[in-house]
């Protein structure tokens, strides 16, 4: 329990918040890494997931691939990448993108697949092109599930982005590593609490977004 009090003392000290290696700066870096990773991963995974969900082709391959990728230990991949790419943010960003792709991809194809066949048939019946069908019917109806995938990806990335500090001077992971090595456990626990708080805030925001998207289509879909 004293450790927790020490950690809160550490967090309460204004000297720890300012400066180029202060908490404020580390939070900004941590959020920037998380945001960049989720954006890159979404740009890669969502189009692919939508194509797979829409055409219903290649689903087996994608499922096998993404569940395989989920099993890769991120720290191991980070080390191998950094051995080839050098230190800095490139290696951790790639490793985290790989971590974020499976939930995004799964959300995308599962969401599109879950759109009722009647709605799809009806859209075709009124003469929509395939592109109109995807963009005006399937994606809006699939949005809650897609945002669910985004939520789960964001949560994993924000928690794992601490690994960036393994090879770069960035993110909240810096407090974890330096606290661990110097046996400054209040710093380490303080850093961990910040990561947890950040994850909870992001989670709450995305849950809200998900709810917004869930209500709109169901009302619009009423006869």
């Amino acid at each position: 329990m004293t450790l927790f009090f020490d950690a809160f003392d550490w967090l309460a000290d204004p000297a720890h918040w300012s400066g180029p290696s202060g908490i404020q700066q580390r939070i900004v870096e941590h959020l920037a890494i998380t945001g960049a990773v989720v954006l890159i991963a979404a740009a890669l995974a969502l189009p692919l997931g939508i194509v797979v969900g829409h055409t219903r082709r290649g689903r087996g391959t994608v499922v096998a691939l993404t569940s395989g990728v989920r099993a890769i230990p991120t720290l191991g991949m980070l080390t191998i990448l950094a051995l080839n790419l050098g230190i800095g943010l490139t290696a951790p960003v790639i490793a985290l993108v790989v971590l974020a792709i499976p939930p995004l991809l799964a959300g995308a194809y599962a969401g599109i697949e879950s759109v009722s066949p009647e709605a799809v048939d009806a859209s075709r019946g009124i003469g929509m092109t395939e592109w109109e069908l995807v963009s005006r019917v399937e994606i809006p109806l699939a949005l809650p599930v897609i945002v669910g995938g985004l939520r789960s990806a964001t949560l994993q990335v924000v928690a794992t982005a601490t690994l960036a500090a393994y090879v770069a001077d960035a993110g909240l992971g810096r407090f974890l590593f330096s606290g661990l090595k110097q046996r400054e456990y209040s710093e380490m626990l303080g850093g961990a609490l910040l990561v947890a708080a950040l994850a909870l805030v992001l989670e709450a925001m995305l849950a809200l977004v998900q709810r917004l998207f869930t209500t709109v289509p169901s009302q619009a879909g009423r006869p």
């Binding site: 051995l83 393994y166 810096r174």
Partner: protein
């Protein structure tokens, strides 16, 4: 660094278990009236010990084989944990000869010592040692933390010591475990002692392959690697001399009991003389790269060096 600490903790744990086991056996078997723990070895036998560290074991094997070649009776007590475990055994005479490292042993006996440079440390060590122990000549061979740069960088800027880095007109960056940032031998210590202020970037692999890669890429210019680590020569790195003593000097030094007569002491001193820093790295490389047993490495070394 991390591995060392973990290993140390593990070793301490194992040592406790082992000593419990030995104590248990002793209670059953030995004569309860005799509490002489070295009773197993006759008065002529020299007991050679070593740390639970491959490099220390190789040096101990060299001592043992050289003494055997000169017809001494030798008993080996190799790989017996860390300082907390074996120093008491040296002090009570259960072990007669032990390859040690000047700085760390001095700190064990005198935790608040101010000595950092090689000769000061050796002198302080001789003073700090218990009376019935002899600190023999220290070797040139060292095994200590050092700042390394790539050979190309050292040649480009004509670097030999850390002092030379003050003249490099380029922002230097150190890559090391994050704890270095706040330590007295980190960036701030460099500025105080050598007058240049490097940047710092964390690489959490304790001078391992990621650090070496960053040095070769030029992402960082300086890193901390043990002087006797084979990775220094394998990757064409250069350790810069620490003239102001940021790091505690740590030379190989034999600690001996009075059981070693003059001839034996002379043999051991000859080994210390023949053992160069580069030579120690080669010995370590044979263990790390070829996984050769300590006894074989020691034999090959003694075949090449005349110590008798």
């Amino acid at each position: 660094m991390k591995h060392r600490i973990h290993r140390r903790m593990l070793n301490a744990g194992l040592a406790v278990l082992a000593s419990l086991a030995i104590a248990a056996c002793g209670a059953d078997d030995s004569d309860p009236l005799s509490d002489d723990s070295s009773s197993t070895s006759s008065s002529e036998t020299i007991v050679v010990g070593s740390q639970d560290y491959y490099s220390s074991e190789i040096i101990a094997e060299i001592y043992a084989q050289a003494l055997e070649a000169a017809d001494y009776d030798v008993e080996r007590e190799l790989r017996i944990g860390q300082r907390e475990v074996y120093v008491p055994e040296i002090e009570d005479g259960s072990i007669d000869l032990f390859p040690e490292y000047t700085g760390p042993l001095l700190q064990f006996w005198e935790p608040d010592t101010q000595a950092r440079l090689s000769d000061d440390v050796y002198e302080a060590l001789v003073d700090a040692a218990p009376e019935d122990l002899n600190v023999l000549e220290q070797s040139d061979a060292t095994d200590q933390d050092s700042y390394v740069v790539t050979r190309a960088f050292a040649e480009e800027h004509d670097l030999k010591t850390l002092e030379d880095l003050a003249d490099v007109d380029q922002q230097l960056t150190i890559g090391a475990n994050s704890e270095l940032e706040g330590r007295p031998n980190g960036p701030k210590g460099l500025q105080k002692a050598y007058g240049f202020e490097p940047k710092f970037t964390p690489i959490e692999d304790g001078g391992g392959p990621l650090t070496v890669k960053a040095l070769k890429d030029g992402t960082i210019q300086m890193a901390i690697i043990y002087t006797a680590d084979p990775s220094i020569s394998k990757n064409d790195l250069v350790a810069l001399e620490d003239t102001k003593g940021l790091f505690l000097a740590s030379h190989v030094v034999p600690i001996a009991s009075d059981k070693l007569d003059e001839d034996a002491v002379e043999i051991i001193n000859r080994i210390s003389e023949e053992l160069t820093p580069e030579g120690l790295v080669e010995l370590n490389a044979k263990s790390v790269d070829e996984q050769a047993p300590a006894a074989d490495i020691a034999k090959a070394w003694l075949d090449e060096h005349d110590v008798s």
